[in-house]
Point group: C4
Chain length 269, copies 4
């Protein structure tokens, strides 16, 4: 979508709204865009806290209100976007609006509104509760505002070979460690090590140094191999660290340098 230059000195309300919602400039996000970002965060926090019954039951009116409020905000945003996008020659008129509705970002906006139709918070069936979590899709609207997701995707893509290799080594060590512990402690602790998939739960917790402590080897031999796995975990942590850190540091440096020259791209193309 090309940058739209207002044709006269006193732009119309539609043109000003277009600039506020879609425009990018040297100052970064417009006040309207910042407000929308804040509303998205507030909506997510409401959805997250809304799963905790002890809170919802104490403040039912507040959650009912927030429910309606965020639904109204995002529906209004969708409709205003639909109206003002006509400023752009690409999406002018009814047929232009049709073209706009099926763009990925417009579909995402629609998808983010849909779950609000599922009604208020509360302790109903699990299916309904899960369905309402689709409201968290609203977070995906951040794609519009942020280059960070593309940046992270770029880093992971640039180092996919290194990271894939590290992941394969990690999986191989998990397989080896869980096979060994299955053989050594499988009969002694059938619940924890009675099969390789069960032993993998222990192997992952040990190799990543999480160490829940719900399962651990009881025999001397199992502890010897458990110790080796724990030390291997230290090595496993070591590998992606330098890879990711270096790549991320490079990408962020480039991104900061690019901020001053890179103002021509808009978000809806």
């Amino acid at each position: 979508m090309p940058e739209v230059t207002p044709t006269n000195a006193y732009p119309s309300a539609q043109a000003r709204a277009y600039q506020a919602l879609y425009g990018t400039g040297p100052a970064g996000l417009s006040p309207t865009q910042r407000a929308l970002a804040g509303l998205i965060v507030a909506s997510v926090v409401t959805t997250v806290v809304g799963t905790e019954d002890t809170v919802v039951q104490r403040l039912p009116v507040v959650f009912d209100f927030l429910e309606v409020f965020f639904a109204t905000v995002f529906v209004t945003e969708y409709l205003v976007r639909l109206w003002v996008v006509g400023v752009n020659p690409l999406y002018r008129g009814l047929r232009g609006r049709m073209r706009y509705i099926v763009t990925p970002l417009a579909l995402l906006d629609l998808l983010a509104i849909a779950p609000f139709a599922l009604g208020v918070f509360g302790a109903e069936s699990m299916v309904l509760r899960v369905a309402r979590l689709l409201r968290l899709v609203v977070l995906a609207k951040f794609v519009r505002f942020s280059k960070a997701i593309r940046l992270l995707a770029g880093v992971v893509h640039a180092r996919r070979f290194e990271l894939g290799f590290t992941a394969l080594v990690g999986l191989a060590v998990v397989l080896l460690a869980s096979t060994l512990l299955y053989v050594i402690e499988g009969e002694l602790q059938p619940d924890a090590f009675g099969s390789i998939p069960r032993a993998m739960w222990w192997a992952v917790a040990t190799l990543t140094t999480v160490g829940y402590g719900d399962v651990y080897p009881h025999t001397a031999l199992g502890r010897v191999f458990g110790s080796i796995t724990a030390f291997a975990g230290v090595g496993l942590i070591a590998m992606p660290t330098g890879i990711l850190a270096a790549a991320l540091s490079d990408a962020l440096t480039k991104a900061r340098e690019g901020v001053r020259v890179d103002h021509t791209d808009t978000d809806a193309d």
Copy 2:
């Protein structure tokens, strides 16, 4: 505050005390400043150990004495500072002393004395115990002696974009992991995963590889996503490592090189 040069070969007691308390020189901290730093550390240790009733009840006299001792030391320090600061032309006379009292460092000194008025250690009400912890504010007096805090603040400020980005990725992974586990194990383990905020406690412990083991997934599917979260944690640790380490290393190298040229700044300006 400009460096004050003593005008005659035999400086007065006030001028010598000023130099001992405020002066900076090629040798670093003066013996008086080192002694004060040691007293601050001793005072903090006393406050910390003083919260342990089993120790205080065995040595009540010692803690009563240390109480009075540190109060006396820091009150005396405050009064001496107030007297000797008159050497500096900026804070000469009564009006100068008034100006000095409202400088941030002088207010901090006053704030650090105040909680000593709350009396001796012991097992009284929690409110009083907490109030006495304000004595730990005495640690903030180290701002006067140390450039390290400014250095760390500088590093965090220089890399705020990278660190903020890492924190956002971490929060997003915490949100995703806790939402998944809430959906998968919410009904099976309502205390641990019965809402997204509850599941977040597990997600944080797993993603940071702390792994207390108080809560963990019980189902096969929950363990698959738990394992992915644990591996994501290894990646999450990887990101800030290189960023912080490189920035800190640079800043410390600069700080050491700057030691020999940078003797003109004093601490009260």
Copy 3:
């Protein structure tokens, strides 16, 4: 083994099969090689899941079929390889085939077939179950496809001095920490700290920051040394991180640069 150029425009079935199984080209692995790699992974997954009785008992027919299927595939692969290798002048004729059979990669293929003779999955004696795990040796067939194992071995070899030094420091800290805790808590917790080898289980879990929490010091002194061990663990993780990350990053960069020039080596030489 030198690259074998087909001598006429319409190569025989044997020559085409040779190219499909042993050939290397600019496009990487041939479709046949990719399919075999997929079958190896599928076979390993089957063996791993086959140790979980609750799954096998629900789908006994599926596992019986997969059993026969993978045995057939790998036996067929072995026989086809034996036939087509005659295209290579080195292994032509019956005597050439004998020479081929004793090459490391051909022996590995044979070794990977053998455990399939041990019959179907199920809950028989542990000895039989363990023997069947030798099917995982099939993973070693990946040596044929992948340079990654040689790459990792090269990295570890190049930094063996640094990594060995780190391991020695780690062992010394484990010895020191477990000796201290044995002395401090040996009488209080005989099961956990009643001997140095027992205390080592705690020391390894703490130093690698796994922290199962099955054993931990109960006394104040034990906790002081436990805390020091935990902080030493942070330092221990720090050491191999940079060493491995830098070496791995270098080796992978070289490996990627080498992809375009390095197409002449085959895997059976």
Copy 4:
């Protein structure tokens, strides 16, 4: 101690023994020195395993024999060193031997023999068991063989400012986190958070990401600050990683480059 050149083509037994025990050459350690290093490791393993009563009681004769064996070996080594050191002009004659006995390395050899006088392994009083652990001092004899200890000491010394700064930040975060949890959960869980020193045990386990799980916050507010502490731990691990890794990598590179030029120094100077 200067390198001693044998004065004739057929050196005496004393001169050859001197070379075998003290000599350094292009090939590194002499076979005698390697054998002694192996015996030191074997002696340490015996002492460590000897603290485990279940093993000692099964093989009492073996441990009694090893006891006498290692005592004999190290006493013999000491006496032979005392005899052959006379080859060196510095330690010739009875007065030279007296001078040698008080050198640090000779005193260390004597110290390593002494605990063997404490008799056989077994389940006697804790005091005697601990005294026998002084046999582990035999490990210090490695100072004679290894430059690695000096290397590590050099690295830690070169980066003492950075590491000290990291340690201070870590201590400050431990103090802050334990004070907060003491205030929040001190009344609810007096055993775990009833005083700041008690809460420090939790803070250290969380900040180093060990996470035993013996104590953890139960309230929502405590968990919020516990989560922040866990994330701070990720940052704390990040800081020393790059510092130590870079310094160690540099030092080891220098050490390897120095191997070919650095053959003139002996170990007893």
